[in-house]
Symmetry: C2
Subunit: 409 residues, 2 copies
């Protein structure tokens, strides 16, 4: 017999363009299930649970939920709090008080660890609780997942941005540096490669946190490209680090740290400005520009990978299906063929507090570009119907005016 009771759902960590798809997928599935007596949403993730700030989602209209699914960033609002065991125990206490029997937490690897610990308390106390982690992160760094919901849309933003930059940088030549999100994993930065259409399109260089970053190599690489094309577009992960694993940005400025001990990488243009200054000074190139894509990448309204949106909806729906079948775990996306996906429920400990990075075969040997293997991996994730870029092909006219003067010489 299936467990009958309340369901509680929350969202944690950085927002994405499709995290609400997962939320709505789980809630709509729950509304169809007679064993679910009420659907609670916790405001601000785990904070809302310990503060007992729940809203009654049973009262939401289906139309509003569908509108929300297409709205970027966490509808239930989020938190950066990373719960310790005491915090998790308190979460469990409050869930038990409210007779919550199904707990869903949408988030990254830290969130999955939280679900694991809460479930442990339930087991210790012999309290029947089904707990399911629903994956999301634009960083694409969750173990067991071929890719994660949120990544495809953020990657699509980066690709469309870089497609425009290609045109802009060709029209007004110079060195252009884009700083792209990614603390430990370079997937999002690497995705910029998909913007290439013509032979000389950028990004001409790609630097990810998986490979030690050397300013000397960076400058030498830019010089080589600039000498060839008279311009150079560079994609750099915010998380690039040196041989010792020390973030380059931490070497440039005092950094803020969050509850997870992580340095603040986004919300500042410092890394890009510093790298641009190096290029100007050391290579003597006058037009050097930098954009830090920042928060636009993760919650831009209206740039969504259709593939990503569909899968994000499905992981939410599948999470509910697994939970209502009594199964605890983390929903993972597996790749099938060229290209489809299947979903599996994996053990929470396989995902919790672990980080996946790009595999070695995704990088070229100089660690400044991606390989065809990465293109093949990434292309289906950014969705269909990308903008198409054109270029004039007309031939040059003979310089008869200059020729006349040359003949007179």
């Amino acid at each position: 017999m299936r467990l009958r009771g309340k369901m509680l759902i929350a969202q944690g960590g950085g927002p994405t363009a499709v995290i609400n798809q997962s939320f709505v997928g789980a809630v709509l599935e729950a509304k169809k299930n007679p064993n679910i007596t009420e659907i609670y949403g916790a405001l601000h993730g785990v904070e809302g649970i310990v503060n007992e700030e729940f809203i009654d989602l049973t009262l939401e209209t289906e139309d509003n939920l569908r509108l929300l699914a297409g709205t970027p960033a966490s509808a239930l609002m989020s938190t950066r709090v990373k719960p310790d065991r005491d915090y998790c125990e308190r979460m469990f206490e409050i869930m038990r008080h409210h007779d919550v029997r199904y707990f869903f937490y949408i988030g990254g690897n830290d969130s999955s660890d939280t679900v694991r610990i809460v479930k442990e308390f339930a087991v210790d106390e012999d309290y029947d609780l089904v707990a399911v982690h629903i994956p999301k992160t634009i960083d694409n760094d969750l173990m067991e997942n071929d890719h994660t919901p949120g990544f495809g849309s953020a990657a699509r933003f980066v690709v469309q941005a870089m497609m425009g930059v290609n045109q802009d940088n060709r029209a007004l030549a110079g060195v252009y540096i884009a700083i792209i999100m990614g603390r430990h994993a370079g997937f999002l930065t690497a995705a910029s490669a998909l913007a290439r259409v013509f032979d000389d399109d950028g990004p001409h260089l790609i630097y990810c946190p998986e490979n030690p970053f050397s300013v000397e190599q960076f400058l030498a690489d830019i010089k080589r490209v600039y000498d060839k094309y008279g311009r150079c577009i560079v994609a750099v992960s915010e998380g690039i680090s040196d041989e010792q694993g020390e973030p380059i940005i931490a070497q440039l400025m005092d950094c803020e740290r969050d509850d997870h001990g992580n340095i603040q990488l986004s919300g500042t243009g410092a890394l890009g400005d510093e790298l641009a200054a190096e290029v100007k000074e050391k290579l003597g190139i006058s037009r050097v520009r930098c954009d830090t894509y920042g928060y636009l990448q993760r919650s831009f309204a209206g740039i969504v990978s259709d593939t990503d949106a569909r899968e994000a909806r499905e992981v939410g729906e599948m999470a509910a299906k697994y939970a209502f079948d009594g199964r605890t775990g983390s929903v993972a996306i597996k790749r099938v063929g060229e290209y489809a996906v299947s979903y599996e429920l994996v053990d929470l400990s396989l995902v919790a507090a672990k980080t996946k990075v790009m595999s070695k075969n995704f990088f070229n040997k100089d660690a400044n570009d991606v390989t065809k293997a990465f293109y093949d991996y990434c292309r289906p994730l950014v969705g269909t119907r990308l903008p198409e870029m054109g270029r004039l092909r007309a031939p040059l006219i003979e310089k008869t005016y200059q020729k006349r003067f040359e003949q007179q010489d």
Copy 2:
């Protein structure tokens, strides 16, 4: 009898998302006109003219031109060179050598001045030349125009960005500062207001270059909003200046200057970082983030206002129609009713080297927000079918767990 001969077209200044619509509009119209013997495109604006770098556009396929029309940034490539009289004379010399009879230059107010001077040389030399300036600028700062091609698409980018930021900042509260393009005119920054859907949506504060910027006022404004909502979103023009008209950014760092004597405002995160540091330090708010929208605003692939694209195409087509009718001038967009446009050919001197800024009735009395008059002005320009944003409306559940403890006290 109509003048028979070659046409020359070029693009100058900063790229936009729709500048190629104007280019293609003029070229396709020329292809239909039997008086146009050949269609030349100059590469890199005026530089391509003095360097005699012309391509033969007569050889472009119509399909490729249509693909190009939807491609952001100058297909003919651009230049930052602002020609003096000698430069214009040389341009005229080369046009005469190639028997160019129709000259089109797509650009802002500097470009219109260039067209004016070249035409003067033609008149002085009694050489038949029809010269038409085609307007474009995301800054929306051309005289005689209700608005300019390129602005609507850049504004749409800003609106969609800010719609996402609204969700993101509500999910993870703090102060968020967006630095938006605009040297003398704040139209693009002001457009961010159109992202507001709910009562407490941002941007909560908007600062434009038209009004003297005071850091004290800025901090006091943010404190007031933050105390009310626990968060604050601010839109700031890159060109904000103090009472003396000195750009705030120039007070913060050494700045690069271009041929026009303009300070480099974009391509660096310095202004935002500095303002964010002020907020952190003076108001003691810990989570302060800044994004500088930079080049993404003007050439993002796939974010285009349909209204802007159509009008950009039409100004190009109208420019050709006026020219082939023997009329020199600058094409201007006039607003008709609620909402349509008409086109006029105005005297070059009315547009040349002048700058339009936002009118006073577009600002509230504290100069930190826009008025309904601005909404009415701006709304039709960003195009149709903006993303729709949702929000949960479900009521809070009673805090029975906390209540139990309170009763025990």
